[in-house]
């Protein structure tokens, strides 16, 4: 199967319109590094339709919605608040598993020094920035250009995070460019992808031998239907209706299997549990709704 797959959607998590038929044609391979953009007029005045993106298939109203919502990425009280609240919990898992795997001092303030990490589907950079603060050399990729712009601008506000490299591209394109990383993060992405198995193959190709792959997603269980779809979308309005399709969720076993087929072995799994009374997320053994998997590529793999 060709690696150049039309991906149905690779989005960052919340608040993006789910128009079921829109597809992103990934002919757009402009890679925005952290060098300043050539002229102010090209950097979009927030609401203009971006002339360069291959998102001509995206309707104007979708872009406008993206534009309006993208600004709220970093508003911690805004629509992305649940993601901001979940972020420390994800980072706790990542920190402990990566420190153990790469034999780093867990009491250091920058344990990821000299590690190259790619954040696939980085959105506004909510995961990329803390990883950079922990010392990693971070590359953030997202297929939505607006997200990359927002991520770049926000990262430039702090000298520690301004070293992050943001690219508007996909995992497949990075594989084609031959890039590899010590750790590959694909958090809350795989449930939006058209072909999870191919996606996992790309993630495996991006990982160095003896490197780490971390994937998080939502379990395809009855409980997840009740919480992540009914409660989150229809009752609490954390996500717009239709953000997630229950049928595209993966069970932990399925995820482990497709990762294994791609040459990556899951070593550890944990779940995220939300306590509605305290409003906090906790790491737990309960993988029936949100779960995260830490996997490694064997040393002898190509």
């Amino acid at each position: 199967m060709a690696l150049n797959v039309t991906i149905h959607r690779i989005l960052r998590h919340r608040r993006f319109l789910n128009s079921a038929n829109s597809t992103l044609h990934l002919t757009n391979t402009r890679c925005f590094s952290h060098a300043p953009s050539p002229s102010p007029s090209q950097s979009s005045k927030a609401n203009d339709k971006d002339p360069h993106s291959g998102s001509s298939s995206l309707k104007d109203n979708e872009l406008a919605k993206f534009a309006a919502i993208s600004d709220t990425w970093w508003d911690s009280e805004g629509p992305f608040k649940p993601l901001h609240l979940m972020n420390p919990t994800r980072l706790a898992f990542i920190r402990s598993t990566l420190c153990r795997h790469f034999k780093r001092d867990p009491y250091s303030t920058r344990p990821f020094e000299r590690l190259k990490i790619v954040d696939v589907g980085c959105g506004g950079g909510i995961l990329s920035e803390p990883l950079a603060r922990l010392g990693a050399t971070v590359t953030g990729v997202d297929a939505v250009e607006k997200n990359i712009k927002i991520a770049r601008l926000h990262a430039d506000l702090d000298p520690t995070t301004s070293t992050i490299e943001y690219c508007c591209t996909t995992a497949e394109k990075l594989v084609e460019e031959g890039r590899t990383f010590d750790a590959v993060m694909a958090l809350e992405v795989i449930e939006h992808v058209a072909n999870p198995e191919e996606f996992c193959k790309s993630l495996a190709a991006l990982t160095n031998p003896d490197g780490a792959t971390v994937v998080s997603t939502i379990n395809r269980s009855m409980r997840a239907y009740a919480t992540a779809i009914v409660a989150a979308e229809y009752i609490l309005h954390w996500l717009p209706k239709g953000t997630h399709q229950w049928s595209s969720f993966l069970t932990p076993e399925e995820l482990a299997m497709i990762l294994h087929r791609a040459g990556i072995n899951v070593e550890e799994m944990a779940g995220f549990v939300y306590n509605p009374l305290t409003g906090r997320w906790l790491l737990s053994d309960d993988i029936s709704v949100n779960f995260i998997a830490f996997a490694t590529k064997s040393q002898n793999a190509i």
Binding site: S76, L85, P88, T109, E129, R133, L134, H154, D156, L157
Partner: protein, 510 residues
């Protein structure tokens, strides 16, 4: 319950702040205008913008609680690499003033609970306190003017060696300062006052401004900017308001407060007595409680709450007359001693005999007679104040800036130390997970941890204050019953001691 005067040194200086502040150009305007004004100033000062110092944390107020936060941060591996600016115009912070043992005792003292002592031991500051005058006490006696009941507490009721320790504020402060000076913690002390502060409320509005101007100084866009009284500015990722009851940070950041002034003042002074004192005494009088706290070497501290007119009068009378008043207030003034042989009551609680506490067997003692006044008399107004929230983006309040309470239980500064400890742990957790320390979700965790504990303590102290200001027959009997209950029901007594010692955050009777 024992008393204290919860004055931090910086609070004293805060009283001298001019009421009109000089804004050096940047006006704090709500909304996105702030970002535009900030950017204009940045353009003007582009040449000097590189010389504006940037810190991770700016602690405004270098009193006991502010310095406690700095020393807790200095003692933890996750946070000791942070750069901290301490803004306080108190000359004691320059470290040049040392405390000599022969100095007369300062009337401003605080009672530190065992919980606070353990925080300070963790940070390595307690050993400095022990080098100066301090007094552990292991007994406490509380009674009132009606003579209907009393309660005695003993550290051995909870299998401890002491109930708390009383030390002068300057001793505690210099201990914390020495602890910080010991470590190679990056701190800079600014002997200035804070004039104004600019906080970037909406980071994206700054971003949009920068998109058109593309300045390299946008790297400071994420920080709060503090203008100091000498005209200079500093940047900080997080501003901590530890500047006391009349907090300037709280005012500038727009935190609303709830509270009221008690129509009471407290007189504090140091007195001398012929024999050693290892007990904390508190007697509730109709106008307010009087407390006698040991501070070491035959000295004790008096904290006497009364109406403002009485306090002004007692401040100006002669030393002899004042001592007579004090002795009478502690002894036979206003009412009789409680009777110590309460065989009837003992039978009532006889089912607790198996579990009885050491102090239940102790009889009522008369406090030591005061022979000399050893310091000037100081008068402070009392009030209750609580900030409605402790944290917003890039700003957080600790100590008296967040809450002020009545001194009747000696809890004020201990709540502040608890705040400092909790905030330091939350910051360490944030750094471990790569969080931006000024992020509001992180600071809200600190608020969620401390606010309920502080509010429940304030509610209890407030109810005590109200309960003891009423002189009404049946009410007095109720209070006497409460004394007996506290004295003779061991689980209740242990809970009270444990809660007052800071071991428990909530007085849940379990």
């Amino acid at each position: 319950m024992n008393r204290l005067v919860k004055r931090s040194v910086s609070n004293f200086f805060a009283l001298k702040l001019p009421s009109k502040s000089l804004c050096t150009g940047v006006v704090k305007v709500p909304g996105s205008n702030v970002a535009e004004i900030l950017n204009e100033n940045e353009k003007k000062e582009n040449t000097t913008s590189n010389s504006i110092q940037q810190y991770d944390i700016a602690i405004v107020g270098g009193g006991m609680v502010g310095m406690a936060l700095a020393s807790f941060l200095a003692s933890m591996p996750m946070t000791k690499q942070l750069s901290v600016a301490i803004i306080d115009s108190n000359p004691a912070l320059s470290g040049s003033m040392s405390i000599k043992k022969e100095d007369p005792p300062d009337p401003r003292v605080s009672t530190v609970t065992p919980a606070t002592i353990s925080f300070m031991k963790d940070a390595g500051a307690w050993k400095y306190v022990e080098q100066n005058r301090h007094a552990y006490f292991d007994k406490m006696q509380v009674w009132d003017y009606t003579g209907l009941g009393y309660a005695r507490y003993n550290a051995r009721d909870v299998n401890k060696d002491f109930l708390g320790c009383v030390a002068e504020n300057k001793v505690l402060h210099s201990a914390l300062l020495s602890c910080i000076q010991d470590s190679d913690f990056k701190r800079t002390i600014y002997p200035l006052r804070l004039n104004s502060m600019t906080l970037n409320r909406s980071s994206m509005s700054v971003v949009e401004e920068n998109m058109s101007s593309r300045e390299s100084s946008s790297a400071q866009g994420q920080c709060a900017r503090l203008q100091l009284s000498d005209g200079n500015s500093i940047y900080a990722k997080l501003v901590v308001g530890a500047d006391g009851g009349k907090s300037r940070v709280r005012e500038l950041a727009g935190f609303k407060t709830t509270g009221w002034n008690y129509s009471q003042n407290a007189i504090i002074c140091t007195v001398e007595h012929p024999s050693e004192n290892r007990c904390a005494w508190q007697r509730f009088l109709p106008t307010g409680p009087i407390a006698l706290l040991p501070i070491g070497d035959k000295f004790s501290n008096i904290v006497w709450t009364m109406s403002p007119t009485e306090s002004n009068q007692r401040k100006s009378i002669t030393e002899e007359e004042f001592l007579k008043d004090v002795n009478s207030a502690l002894d036979y003034g206003y009412g009789p001693h409680p009777t110590s042989s309460l065989s009837g009551t003992r039978d009532l609680f006889s089912w607790f005999q198996m579990d009885s506490t050491v102090s239940a067997n102790e009889s009522f003692e008369v406090p030591p007679k005061i022979t000399k006044l050893a310091s000037e008399r100081m008068v402070f107004p009392l009030s209750l104040r609580h900030a409605n929230s402790y944290a917003s983006k890039r700003v957080v309040l600790i100590g008296d800036a967040a809450h002020t309470v009545h001194p009747l239980a000696g809890q004020g500064v201990n709540l502040g130390f608890g705040d400092a400890y909790s905030l330091s742990r939350i910051i360490a957790e944030g750094i471990a997970l790569g969080t931006d320390i000024g992020e509001v979700n992180l600071l809200k965790k600190y608020e969620a941890e401390r606010k309920p504990a502080n509010i429940s303590m304030m509610a209890i102290l407030e109810s005590f204050q109200k309960a003891y200001s009423v002189d009404f027959g049946p009410f007095n009997i109720l209070r006497a019953a409460a004394f007996h209950g506290a004295n003779y029901i061991p689980p209740l007594k242990r809970t009270i001691i444990s809660y007052a010692s800071g071991e428990q955050n909530f007085p849940v009777f379990l």
